[in-house]
Amino acid sequence: MSVSSALRRDLIYSAAAGGAFMVSYLGTVLAYEMAEFTAGARVGLAMLPALAFLLFIVAEVRLIRRCDELQQRIQLEALAVAYPLAIAIVMVLTLLQKAGLQEMKPKWATCRLPIFSVWRSPTGATGERFSLVLA
């Protein structure tokens, strides 16, 4: 198997795991809103997105290991932007809640989902530095 086809396969795994996380997260949020569960079932349901996210992390690490040195540098620079950005978004949302924006609360869980997309978005910006866009 050539490097590029292996890289493509890892990209597909990573996208699929990311999609599985989003679907399981939204599904769990919807399930909580639409039905009543026992305490045990609620905890079990909450673990589903976490499992999908673990798969995503494994796929992402495999993908980055498969990349060449420039691609790895772009990914790591993107993570250096994405990680603090995600923390900043969570902090701002928390402060907004403390500031009394209680009406946002029912949509809280879905508001946090876009934070996940922060993971990928800086890749384009960091890739642009080297006049290339990955994937």
């Binding site: 040195e69 530095r129 006049s131």
Partner: protein, 78 residues
Amino acid sequence: MKNRLRVLRAEYRWSQAELAERLGVSRQTVNAVETEKYDPSLPLAFKIAQIFGKAIEEVFQPNGAGGPEPGGAKEEGQ
């Protein structure tokens, strides 16, 4: 860091994709090195030099003056 990658690649009549295949990196990486937007790691720089049968300083030169001349005499008595 300056380099002669484009010139050497033209001498060998290799495309960026061909060189990338030989180096085991992506074509984008070869392009970024060639256009001097990215300085390769030492192992990759050595690999590039080795593929063209050159010493590393014959392919890569530091920016500005002060770099050793390719094939130049070494200073002695240090």
